[in-house]
Amino acid sequence: MIINTENEGNIIILSLSGRLDTMHFPLVDKELASLIEKNNKEIVLDCKDLDYISSSGLRVLLKALKQMEAGKGRLTICNLQPQIAQIFKISGFDRLFEIYPAKKEAVASYL
């Protein structure tokens, strides 16, 4: 799992690459927790290079979403690969998150 962070103004873009599973979810959990703790209110998760997500990965995203919403912030997701989009659909997570086809649209949603 590789995590890259970049900024576009106040918007934080977290790019996830690899597999978000039981081996790697603590890394993403820690990174998201740190960003939320620093009071970042606008976070985009770019999943262009995310190949796999397991229940533990979904758990981390749900936890972050709830924390963001509690702090009046917004966590959005973009660039889901078809197999990840399918997991989001069957688990109902597509109804919980704002999902955009590309980073551009996700970023624009905050402007």
Partner: protein, 215 residues
Amino acid sequence: MAVYINHKDPASGDLVKILNKIPPCPGTCIFIDLVESTGIKYKKGVGHWGRLINNTFNFISILNDFPENIVKGIGDELMIYIPDEMLAKKESLTNHYSIIEELYSTLLNIKSFPAKNLFMDCKIAMHYCSNVYNITFLKGYNDYYGKDIDMAARLMSKSGKNRIVFSEAFYQKAKEDLLSLNIPEEYTCLAQKSELVSENFKGIPFPVVYRTIDA
């Protein structure tokens, strides 16, 4: 695939010899049951019940990761058996720790899911089995028998809504995985484990030790 056992001579001593020669098939046995499923069927109808079963089974990611390891299902209760040999060959979830972490996450995701009336809560029992054999008495079926399968089934009586009950044998396996992966237990679901409980179960001539995790 299971060794098919079918001898026509009930007095044959050969069958016992054959059975004694079958090698054990160590692995993890998991029972998953949906809580209050029967009640929902009666109160809200089979259509609603079926929808919830469909949604919940889709949600339990381990069923998608190990489709060939679902041994049997009776309505809303499933038995899954994952031989160590198969676990090691998987692309993801290659160890015992990962199995329980995934199951715990599934329970937590269902419990925390913001929309209501889409899923059923689950209860789970797991045991690491040494005394288990991949045999079947029914042609064309895959099955597992052994003293440890009985123990896994007995543990289910100690589970409950959003709870995983797991034997100490399973915990030790998961702990070994964490050590070899250099993952501190405090970062995992095992940090939530209960104290060790020792209890006698019907038909098992010694106390069974187990722990629980509540999501």
